[in-house]
């Protein structure tokens, strides 16, 4: 893979990662207030989504992203 393509892949993965994380923040707002009356695990459903996003989805995504980034890490004079 040439250097420019690597940069594009890196940018794309990073963008998808950020959008995925942001999704967990905005999706209750997308469904609100129709989902308000539904419950899940005893919570109003949008609230349960928030909890799952915070405690599971986003942290897990961060670890996966970190492992991916470590594999493609380029050496840096300052950072190493």
């Amino acid at each position: 893979m040439n250097s420019r393509r690597k940069t594009l892949v890196e940018g794309l993965v990073t963008t998808v990662f950020c959008l995925w994380c942001i999704f967990w923040m905005i999706q209750p707002a997308i469904y609100y207030p129709d989902i308000m009356r539904q419950t899940w695990l005893g919570f109003p459903a949008h609230y349960a989504f928030w909890l799952i996003g915070m405690v599971i989805a986003v942290p897990a995504s961060c670890f996966i992203y970190t492992i991916w980034a470590d594999k493609r890490e380029r050496p840096s004079k300052e950072g190493e």
Binding site: S3, R4, T7, G11, T14, F17, C18, C21, I22, W24, M25, P28, A29, P33, M36, T39, L41, G42, F43, P44, Y47, A48, W50, L51, G53, M54, V55, I56, V58, P59, S61, C62, F63, Y65, T66, A69, D70, E73, R74, P75, S76, K77, E78, G79, E80
Partner: protein, 526 residues
Amino acid sequence: MEISIGLIAGLYFVIFGIIFTVASYLGMRRSKVFDEYSVAGRTIGGFVNGLAGMESYLSAFLFMGMTAIVVSMGFPYMGTLIPFALSIAIFMALIGPYARNTGARTLIELIEARYGRAVAYLVLAINLLFVAMFMIGQMKAVGICVEYIFGIPLSLAIIIGGLIVTAWCVIGGMYGITWSQFIQGLVVLSAISITAASVLRAIGVANWFNPYLGYGELSPIMESIGFFELKASPKWYLSLVIVGLGGAAASPQMFIISARAKNASSVRWALSWMVFFIGLVYACAMALAFAATYWIKTTGIVIKPEQADYALFMVCDALTHPLIAAYVVYSSFVEAISTITTLIIFCGTVGVTHVYIPLKKLVKKSVETSDRERKIALAIAMTITGIAFTFITLSPPTLLAIPILWGWELLTCTLLIPCFFAFWWKRVTRWGVLASILTGAMVILTQGWTGPLIKLPFYGCLVFLPLATLVNVIVSYLTPPDSARTLVDRWHGFTDYSEKRYSGNLLPVSLGILSILMLIFALIGL
């Protein structure tokens, strides 16, 4: 015999005070040169940095400010926690590891390398304004805790608390601060979990042993008392989300987590751990806010605005064992001090690198500053910072969350996009950034402490962030590219240079279109 919460919290204060003093002493012994004193020799590993980072990031907003504001504003305000957690993930992907590759000790050094000295000093001024807003809230929290523990007047409590925290910073430097923050992180994680479970048990929740989810069964009752109702417009909530998402990602605390890490990979691991810990803490914080509101509403107790910051203490006092209630009071104290220590060392470091050394060069030309001299200057700068903010806080605001949110908003509008572009868009120029920072800084005209001079029915960042972004993109295209753009490849880890990398138009054009849409949304119907 009834046990006094103040007495127990006082015991925690002494026991952990000794531990933090020992950590500071060990930090002092380890800090032989300036870099060890200011950034812990860049040796902090991912796990320790993650928990310590969580502690420096959360601040007193978590325990006291958030409970106070949820009691006043209801459930929708709790949603502000989510962007605060997400901002770390965004920082991790877009800024943090690359900031570490720059080798900068602070955000100001990074800005100077990328955009030049004039922009760096403007950013320094913005940061000092942010620190002032933020520190006042934290110092007030320290004062509230010391007042609650020892029963002394708030002013005296602020002075005592402020001086103790300053002493820990000056003695231990970044090593002492990081180790103390790691221990403080353990204290807060345990305190918030135990307290949430204990409060849920006291109000009769069957799944009290699972504080992360157990309070869900309160939802029908909470709904009946109007806890979930929106109390402001969607624009207001969206603007608050932007404050949480943007401000934190451009804060000096986050850059310090990067600066003290071993390398870029270590930054990512630290921030991943941080997101995980913060997820747990925020879930419990929501449980506490849920339960506190439930208890206040069902008992009919009236919390006056000036008492709102004490709401959590009142709930714990009434519902939990004194050992736990005292632990919460003490945890609130450590939450505040961990943020204060980070901001003090930030101010001290920029005081040396961007005030003392340049001034010395100006007065005594060609005289080098020795490492020992820089260390002493840093200690003096931290002492001055700590004492100054202690005394500034002697007239604190009613709610400590208010100046904290103003501070985040200022950073969002001024620094988020320049920090992001520094690594991801080579074509950005110092003139574009300068114009964008000045445009974004106008958000202070919409904040309460200026009147506000411009009244908006939502946080001003909904207007000034897109406006600043547009100005940045347009002015950058109109001005010649900076030579510092050649650093970008190296910061991303490339050993060679290619003009085409990070130079595309897709990113600035997309952000420009998004900004226009945001502006239209904000301004329609005003």
